[in-house]
Amino acid sequence: MSSLHDTRRAELEALEARFALRVAGRLGERAQALPHDLSERLRVGREHALQRARRLRQADAALAEAPQWVAQGRSAAAQGPSWGLRLASAAPLVMLVLGLVFIQHLHRQAEIRAAADVDAALLADDLPPEAYGDPGFVAFLKQPEP
């Protein structure tokens, strides 16, 4: 029973394959008769693909024949910069930050010195500092000189 079923199944598959191959044959005929512009565009596409592959192979061959240091350079470039190079690249930035901190420190010191100079001048003057808080003295200062 099973054998009969298998035989029928095999026969059906063979029939299907014959039919399918016949249809595929007709499709092949039609595909071969593609319009000229499509065939040309396919040809150009194929040649473009082959040309790109050729260039790639030539570049690989040139690399294989190049001096060792060129290969090393290219491989280093492909791997990205080394840690030393990265640190060296960061150095100018660190210097800039340190410079800004130093300038701010100098500026602050200059402000303190200027304030100290004013204080010293006030304390060393004959006029007592309290005089500047006296409204009469302020009015006196505003008077035009005779």
Binding site: E16, L27, G28, L38, G45, R46, A49, A53
Partner: protein
């Protein structure tokens, strides 16, 4: 490793079938040309060092992937998949005698053809149309198996399905084609 000439000859022998297969799927000649060219570039750039015997399988796989990429880019894949299921015929829906169709087609060489009122070109166009109207997965399985002449395992690999699924798709495609062609009074 395939030589330049072997690769060129291989592409030349397969490019028209590849174009037709892709055009069936995307239904846009310009897009199909772009996809085929993209697949040829990928094959030539990345797999030119593989043996010539492996080229058909690799190329068809690349082409299928490139076609799927196109659908993804078009963001219509979901609707296409929806269409697949809409177009799948119910089991047993086709009622015809494949043997009868084949036998009458065998006899067609000696006696006037079944499409005697149609020119050969029209007949081919109708067969082409019948294939184009197949559900996408059935059509892909059918074309890979019988047009590209991949075996069942290779077809399954390209389509990313099981061999059983390939057999089912192919069988359904054959029956659907036979029904469609018989309805038009044609025999392949």
């Amino acid at each position: 490793m395939a030589t330049d000439k072997e690769l060129s000859d291989f592409l030349k022998s397969t490019e028209k079938r590849a174009f037709k297969r892709t055009a069936y799927a995307v239904r846009d000649e310009d897009a199909a040309l772009d996809i085929v060219q993209d697949a040829m570039i990928r094959l030539a750039e990345k797999y030119a060092d593989r043996p010539l015997a492996e080229m058909p399988l690799i190329f068809n796989r690349i082409l299928s992937n490139a076609t799927m990429d196109w659908f993804r880019r078009q963001k219509v894949r979901h609707s296409v998949l929806q269409n697949f299921s809409d177009l799948e015929p119910a089991d047993g829906a086709d009622s015809f005698d494949l043997l009868e169709l084949l036998e009458s087609a065998d006899g067609a060489a000696a006696i006037p053809g079944p499409a005697e009122h149609l020119s050969r070109e029209q007949t081919l166009a109708l067969i082409d149309q019948a294939v184009a109207e197949l559900p996408a997965r059935q059509r892909e399985a059918f074309l890979l198996r019988y047009w590209e002449e991949l075996d069942t395992a290779e077809t399954a690999l390209v389509m990313g399905v099981t061999e059983g699924s390939v057999k089912t798709h192919c069988s359904r495609a054959v029956h659907a084609l036979a029904t469609a062609l018989a309805a038009k009074g044609l025999k392949p």
